[in-house]
Structure formats: structure tokens, C-alpha cells
């Protein structure tokens, strides 16, 4: 029977048990940014949405862009982790936890943005009192809360054996780890229950994750607006979400690898394997973007063309072409070349993709609103300092959330690493044996 050892892999417990000066510095800076953002939000609460750059007809700006962007990043975790577990990819072991944590934190951040966008947060109660279930906005509410619940449980279940290890090390927060470990002793019966639950969740969470970003695309695609009314928006959004999620995962992996000296756990091979997935997603993203704009341009419908040209050669052209360079050209250069596909190259490509995907959300949301179908006055959306400060605050909350998690729980699954060392080499060899054609089959042919 496999039993993880609480006194092995000390490197993975070090971030929890020791706190360096850099931690407090980064946390302090993030907290300061958050406080500034909070100040701007209070100002918005007092004065209304007039303090933002939004106006008629551009009624969605940074808040909705950030909402779509953060929910997209959340696909890093659950989806990637679930798919890697499902396919029994052994290299997943040091990666899955970080991915799952990203999901839980950014979902909470992203989910709050529509409430910020409401201007008056008390109006969110109308959703509970008199919401209309046939509205895509309410589909978002239900899907995101279901995804948040499912991904939190999917983060928690594989965390239980590690929480028990922390409890058994008896360093600090013993009460918290006793509470969260649910009486874990690592008996065979407990392993059986836990593995069964993780298996069910890893399958259930995939359709939930896919449905979430499909439904988010529906708030655009269900309208008849040029640039939004598209049948491929669902899969296009899902592809973009997984793409930005992997890039965000890379940034977090590289930062924590450097900060906590995790080079022995997050090896070059992990980056190589995951970078192939990022490259594939870049190509897929380009394919969807090409399809989306080709059909619009070929049809040549005047209103659709106005929006498209607004992006290709109008005021949004710098953003559009930067997006293409950041999401396709830079990843292609750095990830398809074996010499450049090292950690620094992957980091450059990942940062480019995260910025590029944010620009993509900007390009989807704003140009359509700046070119309204009705004959009303047009206007250019320029974000105010409030919106910029709240974007910075959202990023700061993400950093603080991740740092906070790293102070309480291991960012790399300790028991999965130990299980991998103890069992997976022989089990993988046995599994590979079953894939290979039988030697007898060759004899029969001869």
C-alpha cells in the first residue's frame, strides 16, 4: 500500500514553513495596488459609472473585457489538469495543483467583474428576485457558480492527502489542517474513496468547464450585433480560454520555480511537453480567428464590414495586429524552434499570449459597440483611471491569492510526486506492454 511520507520532499513544504523578505515585498506591493483599486471603486460607488470611460452606446468596457479574460484564464486549471489526469500523462504530477489553484482564484476575480460593471452592486439582488432564466446573462451566473463549486471541489479532493501531511508535520495551523484533512489516515479504504471521487470529478468538470466559456460567448453571439452574431463564437471562446490559461500557467510555474528553487520538480521536460500544447492552441486560435473574419469579409454585409474594417485598418488596427503578432507570430517563433523553446523563450511567448488574449477580448467587446446598428451618435471608448486601477487591482488580488495559497498549502502535489516515484514507473511499463501488439499475433502471420 502506498503511504506518503510527511518528512520527505522538504523543498515543497519550505514556502509554507519559511517566509522570505521577497514574499512580504511582493505581497505588500500587491496589497498597495489593491487598496488603490479599492479607493477608486469606492469613488465609483459614490459617483456612479460616470467615473468610467463607458457611455452611450459603449456600455461595456474594461469590466466586461476583464470578466471574459479572467474566466478564460480559469480554463488553465481544471480543464488541463482533468485532461492530463484522464489521459494518465505522468508528467502532469508537478503541474496540476498550480493549474487548479489558478482556476479557483481567477474564477472568483472574474465572477466579481459583472457586479463591478453594474455600478450599483445592490442590483445584483434582482437576479435572485426576478431573473429571467432564458437570458444568456443568467446562464452565465448559473454556469460560473457551478464551475466555481466544481473546480473548488476538484482542487480540494487531491489536496486532502497533502493537508494530512501538513497536519502530521505539526508545524503550524494544526487546527486548520485537522479540520480540512477530514480524518485522512491513508488507509486502503480511504484511498479507494478518494480516487473514485477524483475520477468522477475529473470527468464531470470537463463538460462544465467547456460549457462555461461557451455560455460566456453567448452573451455576445445571441445578439444580432455585427461582429458578435457568430455560430463559431462558442468553440472560439473555449479555444482562446484554454490558450490563455496555459500561458498564465506557464508564467506562474516559471515565477514559483525561480522563487522557491523548484527546478528539481518543474523540469525542462515539463515545459517542453506543455509548450507543445501551447503551440497547438496558438495554431488552433489562428484557425478560428481566420474562419471568423473570412466568413464575415466574404459575405461583405455592409454593417459587418464596417466593424471588420474598424479592426483591420481603423482605430482598432494597432490592437488587432498586435493581437495577431502576440497570439500567433511570437508563439510560433519561440515555440516551434527547438533552440528557442527553453524556459526564457516559453516565458516570452506566454507573456505575449496573455497580453494578446486580453487584446482579443478588447477587440471583441468594444468595436461592435462603437459601431452601433441604430442611427445614434458614435463615440470612442477611452478607459478612465478607475477602470485601469481596477484592472491592476484584479491582477494584484490574483498575486495575493496565489501567494496566500502558497503559504498554506503545497503548490506541487507532494503525495502525487511521491506516488509517481514509488508506483508509476512499474505501472507505466505494464501499461505500455498492454498497448504493444502481441508477439503471438506476429507468429500467426508468419
Amino acid at each position: 500500500m502506498f503511504k506518503p511520507d510527511p518528512f520527505k520532499d522538504d523543498t515543497l513544504f519550505e514556502p509554507i514553513e519559511k517566509t522570505g523578505r521577497a514574499f512580504w515585498l511582493i505581497f505588500g506591493v500587491s496589497f498597495a495596488v489593491f487598496v488603490v483599486g479599492l479607493g477608486y471603486y469606492v469613488q465609483q460607488l459614490r459617483n456612479g459609472l460616470g467615473v468610467t470611460g463607458m457611455m452611450q452606446p459603449v456600455t461595456w468596457g474594461f469590466y466586461i473585457i476583464n470578466f471574459v479574460f479572467f474566466i478564460g484564464i480559469s480554463h488553465a486549471g481544471t480543464l488541463i489538469s482533468a485532461i492530463l489526469r484522464l489521459t494518465q500523462a505522468e508528467w502532469r504530477r508537478p503541474i496540476t495543483r498550480m493549474a487548479e489553484v489558478i482556476t479557483a482564484i481567477v474564477l472568483a476575480i472574474g465572477g466579481l467583474h459583472p457586479i463591478i460593471d453594474l455600478g450599483r452592486p445592490d442590483r445584483v439582488l434582482n437576479v435572485f428576485r426576478a431573473g429571467r432564466l432564458q437570458s444568456p446573462l443568467l446562464w452565465d451566473v448559473t454556469c460560473i457558480t457551478a464551475y466555481f463549486a466544481a473546480s473548488t471541489v476538484y482542487l480540494f479532493l487531491p489536496l486532502i492527502p497533502d493537508i494530512a501531511l501538513l497536519r502530521d508535520r505539526k508545524k503550524k495551523f494544526h487546527w486548520l489542517y485537522s479540520f480540512l484533512s477530514w480524518g485522512w489516515k491513508g488507509t486502503p479504504a480511504q484511498w479507494k474513496v478518494l480516487n473514485r471521487a477524483i475520477n468522477i470529478m475529473m470527468i464531470a468538470v470537463i463538460p462544465i468547464a467547456v460549457s462555461v466559456h461557451t455560455v460566456i460567448s453567448y452573451i455576445f453571439a445571441m445578439t444580432l450585433q455585427p461582429g458578435w452574431h457568430s455560430t463559431i463564437f462558442g468553440p472560439y471562446f473555449v479555444v482562446g480560454a484554454i490558450f490563455s490559461g496555459i500561458a498564465a500557467l506557464f508564467i506562474v510555474m516559471i515565477a514559483f520555480r525561480k522563487a522557491f528553487h523548484l527546478e528539481g520538480y518543474l523540469k525542462e521536460i515539463h515545459f517542453q511537453q506543455l509548450s507543445k500544447l501551447l503551440l497547438a492552441m496558438s495554431v488552433l486560435w489562428f484557425y478560428f480567428t481566420f474562419c471568423e473574419y473570412l466568413t464575415g469579409t466574404y459575405g461583405g454585409e455592409p454593417r459587418e464590414m464596417t466593424t471588420i474594417m474598424y479592426k483591420f485598418s481603423g482605430p482598432y488596427a494597432p490592437f488587432f495586429w498586435t493581437m495577431v503578432i502576440f497570439n500567433f507570430v511570437i508563439p510560433m517563433v519561440f515555440l516551434s524552434n527547438r533552440k528557442l523553446r527553453k524556459v526564457p523563450g516559453i516565458l516570452i511567448a506566454s507573456i505575449a499570449v496573455v497580453i494578446g488574449m486580453w487584446l482579443e477580448r478588447l477587440i471583441i467587446v468594444v468595436p461592435t459597440l462603437e459601431n452601433p446598428a441604430l442611427p445614434v451618435m458614435r463615440s470612442i471608448y477611452i478607459p478612465s483611471m478607475t477602470e485601469i486601477a481596477l484592472l491592476a487591482a484584479a491582477v494584484a488580488v490574483f498575486v495575493m491569492g496565489f501567494l496566500g495559497f502558497s503559504k498554506l498549502f503545497p503548490l506541487i502535489s507532494v503525495w502525487e510526486c511521491q506516488e509517481g516515484r514509488a508506483l508509476s514507473v512499474s505501472e507505466t511499463s505494464e501499461r505500455i506492454e498492454t498497448y504493444l501488439p502481441d508477439a503471438e499475433a506476429q507468429h500467426v502471420r508468419d
Binding site: 431573473g131 432564458q134 477530514w182 474513496v193
Partner: protein, 100 residues
């Protein structure tokens, strides 16, 4: 029984009660979601406002919430039962786990 043991017993009991409370909260959350969706379906019925769409969405959403609550309950009580039976069947291998 020593004072330390009694303290330890009380400590464990308190933690157990907190765990039960957290599971109960999960079920209360599920019940609130069900009540909320039933309320919205009723509003749609009263307003003659695409009732079938509302029912259709409820049928998709409610199983997702129920699954999460059921899994948590299954794990919580499964782990407690498993902790009591130290010497039962042997642990599963990775391959067996994925087959199940």
C-alpha cells in the same frame, strides 16, 4: 483518562462538528439554488415567458450542483468509514484506479 486526552477529545469533537457544519452548508447552498431556480421558473410561468427554456436550463444546472454536493458527502463519510477499517482490502494501483 488524562487531562490532555480529554482536551484532545474535545478538540477532535469540535473539529468534527465544524466539518459536519461545512457539509451541511454545502447542502444548504444546494437547497437554496433549487429554491431560487424554482422561483425563477415560477416567475417565467406567471409572466408567460418561455417556460420551457427555464425548465430546460434547470435540468442542466441542478445535476451539476447536486453532483458536487453528493461527491463531497460521499468523500467525507467514506473517509470517516475508511479511517475505522485500517486492515480491509488492499489499495488500488494507478491502472485499476483509471479502470474503475
Amino acid at each position: 483518562m488524562s487531562a490532555t486526552d480529554r482536551h484532545s477529545d474535545a478538540y477532535l469533537k469540535l473539529i468534527f462538528l465544524a466539518q459536519i457544519a461545512s457539509i451541511t452548508m454545502m447542502w444548504m447552498f444546494l437547497v437554496s439554488v433549487v429554491l431560487w431556480i424554482l422561483h425563477l421558473v415560477n416567475v417565467a410561468r406567471e409572466l408567460h415567458d418561455a417556460l420551457t427554456a427555464s425548465i430546460g436550463l434547470s435540468l442542466i444546472v441542478l445535476p451539476a450542483y447536486s453532483l458536487v454536493a453528493a461527491i463531497l458527502t460521499f468523500v467525507f463519510f467514506g473517509l470517516r468509514r475508511g479511517a475505522r477499517s485500517e486492515n480491509d482490502e488492499p489499495g488500488e494501483s494507478e491502472g485499476e484506479r483509471h479502470d474503475s
